[in-house]
C-alpha cells in the first residue's frame, strides 16, 4: 500500500473532500507526525501504536562485509511499538482477548479472514469495538 491508496481510501470513505484535498490531508498527517518526531516528541496513536524515540550511546561495531571494527556513533533512533489492539487484529485466533466483546469480534474476523474482501470489510467495526473496550 502506498500513500496514493490511503488518499483513495480517504476520498472514498469520508465524504466532502476532493481528490486534491484528500491528498493534501494525508500528506499533512504524515508531515505533522514528522515535525513532531523531528522536535524530539514521541507519538502515541491509541489502537495503532507508539512511535518512540531513543538515544543510543556510541558503541563498537563491525563492518558486516569486511569484519573491520568500526565505531558506531551516538544517535537518536525511532522505533515503532505496535499496540495490543493492532497485534490482536493481526492475530485474530491466537490472541487472548481481554474482554468478552473483543472475543466475539475476534471470532468473526477469523472466519472471514480467508476471503480477502470480506476480511477487509469486517475489520473496521471489529477494530472499533476492540478499541472501545480498551479506552
Amino acid at each position: 500500500m502506498t500513500k496514493a491508496e490511503i488518499v483513495q481510501a480517504l476520498y472514498a470513505r469520508v465524504g466532502g473532500f476532493s481528490k486534491k484535498e484528500s491528498a493534501d490531508l494525508v500528506d499533512l498527517v504524515f508531515e505533522m507526525m514528522k515535525e513532531t518526531l523531528g522536535r524530539g516528541e514521541k507519538i502515541k496513536i491509541s489502537g495503532f501504536g507508539n512511535f518512540v524515540l531513543r538515544d543510543k550511546r556510541q558503541r563498537p561495531g563491525r563492518n558486516p562485509q569486511t569484519g573491520d571494527p568500526i565505531k558506531i556513533s551516538e544517535r537518536r533512533v525511532l522505533t515503532f511499538k505496535a499496540s495490543q489492539v493492532l497485534k490482536q487484529a493481526l492475530n485474530p485466533r491466537s490472541a487472548t482477548p481481554p474482554h468478552s466483546g473483543a472475543a466475539s469480534n475476534g471470532g468473526s474476523v477469523s472466519t472471514s479472514s480467508t476471503g480477502g474482501a470480506g476480511s477487509a470489510a469486517t475489520s473496521s467495526p471489529s477494530l472499533a469495538a476492540a478499541a472501545s473496550t480498551k479506552a
Binding site: M1, T2, K3, E5, I6, L10, R13, V14, G16, L25, V26, L28, V29, F30, M33, K34, T36, L37, G38, R39, G40, E41, K42, I43, K44, I45, S46, G47, F48, G49, N50, F51, V52, L53, R54, D55, E74, R75, R76, V77, L78, F80, K81, A82, S83, Q84, V85, L86, K87, A89, L90, N91, S94, P98, G116, S119, A120, S123, S124, L127
Partner: protein, 115 residues
C-alpha cells in the same frame, strides 16, 4: 503527542473542524490497519514502511514467574524508518525527548518478552 493532539494540530493547521480532522486521522490509521491485517505492507516515502512479519511458535517463559509458556505462531507489524525521517530524528538529538513516559498506556504488558 497523542492521537487527539494530532487531531487538534491537524484542525489548527487546516481549515477543518475537529470533528472532520478526527475523521481524517482515523481514516488514515484504519486504512493502514486494514492493509496490515491483510498482510500487506505500507510504504510512505520520507516517513517509513510497515511490514507484517510472521513469527514461528516457540516455548518461552513468563519473565515474572519463570513458568514455561508456549507462544503460538503470530504475525507482528514491523516499522522501518525512512531515510528522511531517520535523519530528522537524529538531528533532534540536542533536544530533550518529550511526549510522556516511555511505558505506553496502550500496552498491558501481558505479552511475553519478544523481538
Amino acid at each position: 503527542m497523542t492521537k487527539s493532539e494530532l487531531i487538534d494540530a491537524m484542525a489548527a493547521r487546516s481549515e477543518l473542524t475537529k470533528a472532520r480532522a478526527e475523521l481524517v486521522v482515523n481514516c488514515v490509521f484504519d486504512t493502514m490497519t486494514d492493509a496490515l491485517e491483510r498482510g500487506e505492507g505500507i510504504e510512505i516515502r520520507g516517513f517509513g514502511s510497515f511490514t507484517v512479519r510472521p513469527y514461528k511458535p516457540y516455548s518461552g517463559r513468563n519473565p515474572r514467574t519463570g513458568a514455561p509458556v508456549e507462544v503460538p505462531a503470530k504475525r507482528l507489524p514491523f516499522f522501518k524508518v525512512g531515510k528522511e525521517l531517520r535523519e530528522l530524528v537524529n538531528n533532534s538529538r540536542h533536544l530533550a525527548i518529550t511526549g510522556g513516559d516511555d511505558e505506553d498506556d496502550d500496552d498491558d504488558g501481558k505479552e511475553p518478552a519478544e523481538d
